[in-house]
Amino acid sequence: MVDAANTLPGTAGEPPAGRPLLRIENIRKSFGDLEVLRDVSLSVAEHQVVAVIGPSGSGKSTMLRCINRLEEPNSGRIFLGDDEITARGARLDKLRRNIGMVFQQFNLYPHLNARDNVALALRKVLKLDRAAAHARAEKALASVGLAEKTLAFPAQLSGGQQQRVGIARALAMEPRVVLFDEPTSALDPELVSGVLAVIRDLKGLGYTMVVVTHEMAFAREVADHLIFMDKGQIVEEGKPAELFAAPRSDRLREFLSSVLGH
């Protein structure tokens, strides 16, 4: 068994960093008449951290949710390694264990304590026995700084702690890519930094991550690649420092000046 907290998700023998692990090709998505994603393509290399920014309603979250098919794209293809997630008859339950997801509202199971929140899928999906699942869940919780809280119920935890349980739940499955859907947007300001620090640690451990966020400083410092979306399209992408310093499009320039307040 590999320890989620201490090992790179891509272990020895895999191709070197830089090979695209996640590829999104020309996805479109509409809700009724509303076109939310208009031909979005994107590729994420192994060990890369991609931050996605943009005004609300720009399709960032929908794009993220298409990756594990919580939303069904109307057209386009999505690949994780050699597996096509959007293939007809794709074994979604199998594919989803390789894609961790962290939600804005945490979505912890309120009837289970922190350890069992993490252990549920370990037991029912990976079929670990109770002791092994608990051990792995406790390690995952320790890796997000919650070793003391394994038996606490979600209602007894702060928002920041709850979100860290959410992260541990995703990591314990040893996913190949972790998706973050505005992980700090529902948190009180003083709790944001703790959660961001955990995500920063994961980058150090080599996790491949796509992070939809409103935290501009975080996007600038932590992301290897920055994506700016507006009106269902990727308007601009590149190195975060360059995009922040010299946005090429008017839309990114306007967006940055509105969120950064200058």
Binding site: Y109, A170, M173
Partner: protein, 223 residues
């Protein structure tokens, strides 16, 4: 005052009729327990089937639910016991009552379980599915686990209400409390056995009523 005593609380009549009415109590408890087990299991099973959104089945489930909630239990019992034999299906009085009450409880509890399932936040489904749990696993370990807890207070109330209908079994002469009491009343020409029946119903159901209030209070504090 003397008359009240003589006709409602006649100790001698009580003494004579008590063994009969107590026998009735056992029958009532039997019907009640079996109704609760069968009715709630069936209701939960139908709610689970409904969650799978299979259109043809759902039409039947919703129709069953609406029809059995709309028809008075007494009418259903009369249909089962007096009408079904004319098409060649006949059940004993005991089974007819059990069938009627179980189906009525199933219909009501199905609706309550279903309300619980739909009240669970969609984010719970998404979180569970995102970790690779199947639809059925998510339903069982995440959604039902929460839904059942949520609906315990209304479910308890409804279960009590329907279990009380065991009294309609007297119409098809199942020897339960009410039936025994009214036979004794006729035999001894005194309504005291009915008082006895009422007392037994109170002893049987009052703890359940108190328990349901306790559940409700604990529940409202929890959120």
């Amino acid at each position: 005052m003397d008359n009240v005593y003589r006709y409602f609380f006649n100790v001698e009549v009580m003494r004579q009729s008590l063994p009969f009415v107590l026998n009735g109590l056992l029958v009532t408890i039997g019907i009640a327990l079996l109704t609760i087990v069968i009715g709630l299991s069936l209701g939960l099973a139908l709610a689970v089937i409904r969650a799978f959104q299979i259109r043809v089945l759902n039409v039947f489930i919703v129709a069953f639910c609406d029809v059995f909630r709309a028809i008075p239990a007494l009418v259903i019992l009369m249909l089962v016991y007096f009408a079904l034999p004319s098409v060649g299906i006949s059940f004993s009085p005991f089974v007819s009552t059990l069938l009627t009450l179980s189906l009525v409880l199933a219909a009501f509890s199905l609706e309550i379980f279903w309300a619980g399932i739909t009240a669970v936040n969609p984010g719970q489904w998404e979180a569970a599915r995102s970790t690779g749990l199947s639809f059925a696993q998510t339903l069982r370990y995440v959604v039902l686990a929460q839904a059942v807890r949520m609906v315990i207070p209304p479910l308890t109330n409804r279960t009590i209400a329907i279990t009380k209908y065991t009294a309609i079994a007297s119409v098809v002469s199942v020897p339960e409390i009410l039936n025994q009491a009214s036979m004794q009343q006729a035999q001894l020409a005194n309504p005291t056995p009915l008082t006895l029946a009422a007392i037994l119903y109170i002893l049987m159901f009052l703890p359940m009523v108190v328990f349901s209030r306790y559940l409700e209070r604990r529940h409202s504090r929890g959120r």
